[in-house]
Amino acid sequence: MQQNIENLLQQTLVGSKPARPMYSISSHVIVAFFGGPFGLLFYSLNSIRYSRLLKRWWLGYLVLFAVVLASQIYLGQATVTGFPNWIPIDAKVPADLKIVNRIIALLIMGFLYLLQKRLFTISELKGESPKPWIPAIISSILGFVFSIASITGAISYAQ
């Protein structure tokens, strides 16, 4: 038991950045909606860093980034080749493509929320979330630009 107490008395916070409250979950939904999957990733950078789910959080972040990039490239190619028959969506219709992109962003948001549910709850317990406007707008714009760039690049390559 003494060993257990001794283990508890080892410093945990040495060299770590201050743990800021996370942005609210509703702001994540809005960024996912308007900024797409890339916008959501940029907006979630801080929360992924604090989640400590992986020792090297940046590795998990890079994997997510690669998954999102792959999804955008696939969507770009689908506008030329179309989706498989079992997907009842016409990839050549821009409005439908936007819907698919939003669904992808919301699925990623749901995944991140399930992984970080405790952090969101602790942030709520701590009190007010930080004002999300500026980071949300910047993330949404950057996300939009990245999505357009990757989809356009994929279309050019496919044609």
Partner: protein, 289 residues
């Protein structure tokens, strides 16, 4: 005379007259600037007032005269925690625990620090140790309940809270925790009644006022059509958007004139859900409580 003064200052602190208590303490310190007890009292008053910067300065001054003073170290820990100087507060609390391994207050303080820095696993172990030392201490049970809420264990937290309420039905910290639970479970009516009771005890607390205004909005009769939105939050928002897509698809496929009105009616409901809270919050805020 000395202890009379300290008692009167302590009384002022107990009834929440912090400004007056601070003034009296500072007046006494003018004639006795090295008085450790007064410095500790002043630092504590600063903590109550969330004046962390001044409190830290006062506590450090006191510790420069008496470096091993446990009371001053503890109040400095609380001030550093309040000021979000987490690394320094951790060093201090570890030092306190090493010198006093049977003090449950210190384990509880460390658990709180770990909880608010997102180290939930370590917070659980620390509060378990605090409860092992003092199983009947309500403050430790409160922190344990908060940790259960953070961990998503709402059933366990509910049981702990019920026990706490039974033992101390009038304890404000416990009532606040109950309020938190009611808000998390979206029991808005019950939460509003409880928040109003807490406001009677703390009439100038802005956070409570804002909460009551928000709860009044969600429990007003105009919010009845928006029940799914207030009940399910962002999940409802996503569902609303998906329903809109389905309705638009159906409208394209169906050649029925009236369906157009269904889609427009639905859009109107969505717009109402977006503006309801900000508009009614403003109305209730201007009306006052």
């Amino acid at each position: 005379m000395h202890s009379d003064n300290h008692q009167s200052i302590q009384y002022l602190v107990d009834i929440g007259r912090y400004n007056q208590a601070k003034q009296e303490t500072q007046d006494l310190l003018h004639s006795d600037p090295n008085n450790i007890e007064l410095l500790g009292l002043l630092a504590t008053i600063c903590w109550y007032q969330d004046d962390f910067e001044e409190g830290i300065e006062v506590a450090e001054t006191g510790l420069s005269y008496s470096p091993d003073n446990e009371v001053l170290k503890h109040i400095l820990f609380l001030l550093l925690l309040g000021d979000e100087q987490f690394e320094d507060s951790e060093v201090l609390i570890i030092d306190l625990i090493r010198n006093n391994p049977r003090n449950d207050d210190y384990f509880r303080g460390y658990a709180e620090l770990m909880l608010y820095t997102f180290h939930l696993g370590k917070a659980k172990k620390l509060i378990a140790e605090a409860i092992r030392i003092a199983p009947d201490d309500a403050s430790s049970q409160l922190i344990a309940t908060l940790i259960d809420i953070a961990d998503g264990k709402l059933t366990e937290s509910k049981k702990k809270l019920e026990k706490l309420i039974k033992e101390s039905p009038d304890d404000e910290h416990i009532l606040r925790l109950l309020l938190l639970q009611l808000c998390i479970k979206k029991k808005h009516h019950a939460a509003m009644l409880l928040a109003q009771e807490l406001l009677r005890r703390n009439p100038h607390e802005q956070e409570l006022i804002d909460l009551i205004i928000s709860l009044r909005t969600t429990t007003h009769w105009s919010a009845i059509p928006l029940w799914p939105v207030y009940r399910f939050g962002w999940v409802a928002s996503i569902a609303m958007w998906m329903i809109y897509i389905v309705l638009v698809r159906m409208e394209d496929k169906m050649s029925v004139a009236w369906f157009n009105y269904v889609v427009w009616g639905y859009l109107g409901w969505c717009l109402y859900s977006w503006i309801h809270q900000p508009v009614f919050n403003r109305i209730f805020k201007s009306r006052g409580l």
